[in-house]
């Protein structure tokens, strides 16, 4: 019996699963004492928190003071003068970013911009520059992308699109779908079992994902074409380890909740030459 991922059990507890997912977990809970305990602990923790952690209600005296301030603020006494060039532009942009949905609303209202002084034009040019500047995603964004893709794959039913432990099946499967031919091999002797492959989307590219099982852990190995190496060294994000290396023109990133040393072992198996060089 294989226990579901802890995140899946939490999602069940939080009533975030669909009917099929809910049934599957209920079925599992009927048989598994460990998961039943974990699920019950979630419930106890919630009861304890709701009973004993302070819920800070807005103090009634302050409530009135806030509302008075708001009344005094109409119309908008705090707004920086709009024509105040870049300072104004900065304020506009920052404020717009702080209110969900505002940026989009404002952007479509051209009359709003053209009606304002020249500072507004500076503001919009500034904003366009921000929106479209070709900055490559930072390491953090990429790492988060990879973690999210990994978690999604475990959560949903689409861990694999092609299920096979035969690399002669998996590798050709990618041929018609991916922009790249990822390294695909099976390493049963070292306990890295090829499970299959799927397509995903990473860093603006279609990425080929080769899925391995190592003990009870799933390892997703993403490969996508990129001009520049992803990031060096092992990263840890939210309990997952990420190891990236360069394979020709490909960025290859392995991610799992397994130990870092296991990822290095897999890297050494998949790209024997990269381990002796340095991790790109």
């Amino acid at each position: 019996m294989t226990c579901p991922d802890a995140l899946l059990l939490d999602a069940y507890f939080d009533r975030e699963l669909d009917a099929a997912g809910t049934l599957a977990i209920e079925h599992h809970l009927a048989d598994c004492a460990i998961c039943t305990v974990a699920h019950a602990q979630n419930g106890s923790l919630r009861s304890e928190l709701r009973a004993h952690a302070t819920y800070y209600r807005a103090p009634s005296a302050r409530r009135q003071a806030w509302l008075d301030t708001l009344s005094g603020s109409q119309p908008s006494p705090l707004a920086a003068p709009f024509a105040n060039s870049l300072a104004g532009a900065q304020g506009t942009r920052d404020t717009a970013r702080m209110i969900p949905g505002l940026w989009r609303t404002r952007w479509s209202k051209r009359s709003y911009w053209t009606g304002a002084a020249s500072g507004a034009i500076a503001a919009s040019l500034f904003a366009v520059g921000l929106l479209f500047s070709p900055t490559s995603p930072s390491t953090n964004a990429l790492a988060s992308d990879l973690v999210d893709a990994h978690v999604r794959s475990l959560m949903s039913q689409r861990l694999i699109d092609v299920a096979s432990s035969d690399h002669h099946t998996v590798k050709p499967w990618f041929a018609g779908r991916a922009d790249v031919a990822p390294p695909v091999d099976d390493f049963p002797k070292q306990d890295f079992h090829l499970v299959g492959g799927r397509m995903d989307f990473i860093d603006g590219h279609r990425a080929a994902v080769v899925v391995y099982r190592h003990g009870a852990h799933i390892i997703n190995v993403f490969a996508w074409p990129a001009q520049t190496p992803a990031f060096n060294s092992m990263l840890e994000r939210n309990g997952y380890h990420l190891l990236c290396w360069r394979d020709g023109t490909l960025n290859v990133c392995a991610i799992s909740d397994t130990a870092p040393s296991e990822l290095r072992t897999l890297q050494a198996l998949m790209a024997p030459s990269s381990g002796s060089r340095e991790n790109l």
């Binding site: 939490d10 923790l45 800070y56 302050r62 708001l70 920052d94 209110i99 969900p100 949905g101 978690v151």
Partner: protein
């Protein structure tokens, strides 16, 4: 009415944490006020609760909420659908981050995706929730344990367990994918559970 503000009036305000220009000329102020009172004000307690847990201070929470309400009033036309609570809480959280940047100018305060990298020793003891709670061995109550959690974890617990928001809305408030919400929530819960068990055992011993 745009751009006619007076610096004198602005200086009357006790604190300007997240000032700026957000008012839309296309809605008149009474309509804005009505929508604000109907849609945003019902979530005032939630706004204060989040601000209070983020800042861990009465006065700072007060400032953050005041600024968030002002922004919410000005930007009310951006609120669509039925997610007023998540919308207001996202503004509260943004005001809190601005507040941090102003009060800790030397700290590297980054937004959501970089939470684990935040380096502000006064407020973020560690990016590991478990380690933070072990270090805070004197935390006898859930309040103390929650206060000791790093912010990235504290906020998901508050939003999920105290505010009862679904994952999707927590993701909106924090501005991260749902997968990130889930993993943070799992780590926060795991840390709180262990801490709780340790506390219970300590009391027995």
């Amino acid at each position: 009415m745009l751009g006619t503000s007076s610096p004198l009036r602005a200086s009357n305000r006790r604190s300007v944490i997240c000032d700026g220009h957000a008012e839309d000329a296309s809605i008149d102020s009474s309509e804005r006020r009505v929508r604000f009172e109907q849609q945003a004000l019902p979530h005032l307690d939630a706004a204060y609760n989040l601000a209070r847990w983020l800042t861990r201070s009465d006065t700072e929470a007060d400032d953050v909420v005041q600024d968030a309400l002002l922004l919410a009033l000005r930007g009310i036309e951006s609120l669509r659908g039925d997610n007023a609570k998540a919308w207001l809480l996202a503004i509260v959280r943004n005001c809190y981050l601005t507040h941090l940047r102003k009060h800790l100018p030397h700290a590297r305060v980054t937004d959501s995706l970089d939470d684990a990298q935040v380096a502000a020793p006064m407020l973020f003891s560690d990016d590991d929730p478990e380690a933070a709670l072990v270090a805070e061995h004197r935390a006898r109550s859930f309040d103390e344990a929650l206060r000791a959690l790093p912010r990235a974890y504290r906020e998901v617990v508050i939003l999920r367990e105290l505010e009862d928001l679904p994952y999707r809305e927590i993701a909106e408030v924090i501005g991260v994918p749902i997968g990130t919400v889930m993993s943070r929530l799992a780590r926060a819960r795991s840390a709180l559970k262990s801490h709780w068990l340790r506390t219970v055992e300590g009391e027995r011993a």
